[in-house]
Subunit: 595 residues, 2 copies
């Protein structure tokens, strides 16, 4: 059975020594999160993840969810008890305002809980994850009455939430949505249509399920400008706020899918269900985007989370499995063979994952802190800069952390040889589970188009210029730091590649948009590599400073891991730039019938 | 349900126009394979693959194999009938000498049948594939009596074969094998031990199963020098050559694994089973290597095969699925949205796979032709050069075609968005099935070590020098071909990278073997990229020559696809070289307890 130990020490090091968490003490919620409190929360988060969620991961995958003839869905054995423990621990409302029953803590703390719980049991963590996405949309776009009706119950875990976007004929292109909403005299709407791929659409964990549903009000304009967002509770809400009778929405079937078997992916049938408009009519996509941005960061975290747990298992196996002898002579001559961690190619696998994970965790926390600033700061300029950052980085994190997270699960599985392919070790489950993160919440190709087509040019390129300025200033300010040079030089080269690629788009994509489309995916990864390289430079700086007074050995390991990233992984920026600069010609040359 | 159409035209173009199949007319078996015969065989191979094998792929995955309480194993519905059709069609013995019931055709033809059948149904194709591996070992190392006893029955399909190497505590390191063989007075041995991960170990397709088993004769030296190879038929062979009573070998369980569900992966228990030595005592690994080299090429072909079928389905879906509008304006204004093939990022996915598949097929056939020359030529010098090539390229094809084949299945799955993640479209099965090819027959890290540690230095680097000479001569000889320049120049750059990497090993790996180990994997991929680039140059040359008299449009498409490879995929050689040149320091820096 796979193991998992939440990386609490690394998280604390990143928050306290690298990213200056305490510098944000003036933001609401941060004052409560003193270093001691922070550590105590993370240790509790680790505990429930390791002791309650992780032991259900393999069995949950094997058992899966069951749909009964009456449309009810049962989650795997143990999930209900684990969910109750999770809800009662207050984990659901960690960063929800206290006014709605939450704890009002920084989103950054929530991001770490998301990582730990997703590493432990991704399929489980999706139930609260989707609920929190729905809460985010309600908090921003719901009326005060709607917030009071739904949010405290969702924070308590009594009710859960879902997002209903996709229909059989449309996923990415939401302008094609057919689900219709007919206005009723009492101000409600009757919702009718079919939604597919609805994660956590039906289950036995909560007393009620609050569906947020995109639909088209009768007579609304065609396309994306005629889409509205509705609250459709599975059970109608009684006057006293309790869950009442059934509301014309049911699960038609659950999908047989590659992974996340313990999360019920449902076809949801709406048959004149009563729904309530959230926000303005025909502005549903806007409201949904709030939910999607949070969700995209959440999915990015899943990529890291699976990469981390897969790494931990591969490292443990590599230290345990005896096979062959080191190229430099036997390391364990008393045993029939050396542990396979002596082999450089096994280490290459492990180091590739480790060097990514530690920087990716920094990138998540750096971005989560910006999210806290963007949502909580009183300083308009600071808030705007953080919001620019968030807009630019959200698609990058979603695309790069899930792509690399998946690749890393495959690498970790490879360390196990044939044992990685059989179910009992759990490695093949990590690969199957990680795969969905590249697809849902906007397939990664869509993230790349969002980045290059929308986020990059917005406000005259202000966000990416801000990033370049930050990089430039860091490199300049640290020229005197001799020990940091192995990090600064590669970072400078890669930043140059990113700048060249950005210039190339400016010159070549206006007149020929396909040039942007053909290079978008590589640009997303190029930007991600530079951002990860920057994280390593920040980590290295802290490690150099800290090795004098802190744990010198741990800091030395940080520096060695970072050097691996700079020498082995960052140089890929050159290939990414070469691909982008090749333009769209060869990509678009063939006529359709040649495929 | 997924579709499949065997690429017969592409295969014929490669054999006839690119690789000069007819130039080998002097080799045994080639005279019979006239262009007409070749085409007729390939069309029949396509037919059984498309009509008989492919329709059982999805259902076979879903149903899987069943082990009954008595140890018998049943294959999925329809497999037995398909197997009979396959055997009766004579496909099993396509390239086995006529003296043993085969058709004596070139191995090259067999390689194409392997591709087609593996695309159609990889789990099915493994049953005959393993049988042919066992036949290859018997033909080289078996006594005449053994050959006569087993081979004709295996060629007829009446009996099948397996390879039994792995044990619970050892896979890669076969020196640790514990299965023991006790000599008997009649010249046979009693075999006792447990083997795991035995593909096709037990099933209902054939009347008998001939296990080739590695075991240690009592008192043999420790390590790899004490391993012998035995024939252990599941049912003893009667004096008249028919299958008789049970022989103390049985299937203890079948593995629950990520993919190839329709192939029974068995734990095999040997309990004093009667076995017969093949070849010399204690030289079993040598005999097994014959089987493994063929099998490695077979596994490489599986990588291509799944990449091809995944591509075909992704291309069809991209032409059919309507979502969004082209960046350059609506292409299907009469429809609610454009087919997604208009989007550059979708094309990038498709072109990436297509540009690989067509070169990989050329590489397989080029290498298969060398195999035919190595095994059948009368010219000692020619034979040696072909054998050098085969030794060098076998690990490269195994590693690169399966790694890229898997990556391409993931790309193809991505084109489907959420539909790629659910079982009914079959895309997630391709990913799960393709994954095993990176692991079995020597995990790809082992292939890399075989390449760099063994094949590269052998005979003073003669094989790789031969490859460099061929590349150099081709580039020089074609300088006057103006239309070929877009292929020659990138090939020259990448060849330079490969030469630099080779030199780097010569300089840095002798004194410090970890430098070879840490760079081996990237070197394998670097060599693979150059070889694929060379294939594209050969294809382009033929396409340029052929576009005057042949199908000009098809040749134009070949050139456009090749340009994509040269511009987008080949430049990765720079990153591979950078990683190799970084050496082992960062890879090996951390102590074990830092993982």
């Amino acid at each position: 059975m796979p193991l998992y130990k939440a990386p609490v020490e690394d998280a604390l090091f990143l928050l306290n020594d690298v990213l200056g968490f305490e510098r944000h003490g003036n933001l609401p919620g941060f004052a409560d999160a003193t270093p001691d409190v922070l550590e105590a929360i993370l240790r509790e988060a680790a505990k429930i993840s390791e002791d309650v969620l992780q032991p259900l991961n393999l069995s949950g995958d094997k058992e899966g969810c069951t749909r009964h003839d009456d449309g009810r869905v049962t989650t795997p054995t143990g999930f209900k008890e684990a969910y109750d423990a999770y809800a009662q621990g207050g984990w659901m409302g960690l960063s929800v305002p206290e006014a709605y029953g939450g704890q009002g803590l920084p989103f950054t703390v929530n991001a770490l809980m998301s990582e730990f719980s997703s590493s432990a049991n991704m399929a489980f963590a999706m139930y609260p994850g989707l609920t929190m996405g729905a809460v985010a949309a309600l908090l921003v776009h719901g009326s005060e009455e709607q917030k009071q009706t739904y949010v405290p119950k969702m924070v308590a875990g009594t009710w859960t939430g879902t997002m209903n976007l996709t229909e059989p004929h449309c996923g990415t292109d939401l302008g094609l949505i057919k689900t219709k909403a007919v206005p009723q005299e009492d101000g409600s709407y009757k919702i009718t249509g079919t939604k597919i791929f609805i994660s956590a659409g039906e289950h036995d964990l909560s007393e009620n399920i609050i569906h947020l549903v995109l639909a088209r009000i009768e007579g609304a304009p065609e396309g994306t400008k005629g889409i509205s967002l509705f609250i459709v509770p599975r059970n109608r809400v009684n006057a006293d706020g309790s869950a009442g009778e059934a509301n014309g929405v049911s699960c038609g079937s659950i999908e047989h899918k590659m992974g996340i078997h313990a999360n019920a992916t449902c076809v949801m049938n709406y048959d004149g269900a009563t729904g309530w408009l959230i926000g303005e009519a025909n502005r549903g996509l806007n409201a949904m985007f709030v939910m999607m941005n949070d969700a995209r960061l959440g999915v990015a975290i899943q990529g890291l989370a699976l990469s981390e747990v897969a790494y931990q298992n591969a490292a443990a196996y590599a230290k345990d499995r005896l096979q062959g002898r080191a190229l430099t002579g036997a390391k364990a001559p008393e045993k029939p063979a050396d542990p396979i961690i002596v082999h450089p190619d096994v280490r290459r696998n492990l180091m590739t994952i480790k060097a990514f994970n530690e920087a990716a965790r920094a990138l998540v926390l750096w971005t989560a802190l910006k999210s806290d600033v963007a949502h909580r700061s009183q300083d308009e300029k600071e808030r705007q800069a953080a919001d620019d950052h968030l807009g630019l980085m959200t698609p990058v994190l979603k695309g790069v952390l899930t792509d690399t997270g998946f690749d890393n699960c495959v690498l970790a599985q490879q360390v196990f040889g044939g044992h990685g392919y059989v179910a009992e070790w759990g490695m093949e489950q990590f690969v199957r589970d990680a795969r969905i993160a590249q697809i849902y919440e906007g397939a990664n190709g869509i993230q790349a188009m969002d980045l290059v087509g929308r986020k990059l040019p917005r406000d005259g390129g202000r966000a990416v210029m801000g990033f370049f300025n930050e990089l430039g200033a860091f490199i300049k300010d640290n020229q005197g730091n001799e020990a940091l040079q192995p990090f600064l030089k590669p970072l400078e080269v890669s930043t140059g590649h990113l700048q060249q690629a950005t210039m190339w788009f400016m010159k070549n994509a206006m007149a020929k948009p396909d040039n942007a489309g053909a290079g978008a995916y590589d640009y997303m990864h190029l930007l991600g590599l530079v951002a990860l390289g920057y994280m390593w430079a920040l980590i290295a700086k802290a490690a150099i400073a800290g090795s004098a007074n802190g744990d010198a050995k741990a800091m030395e390991h940080k520096l060695a891991t970072g050097r691996f990233f700079m020498e082995r992984l960052l140089p890929e920026t050159a290939t990414r730039l070469a691909r982008i600069s090749a333009g769209a010609d060869a990509v678009m040359a063939l006529p359709e019938d040649a495929f």
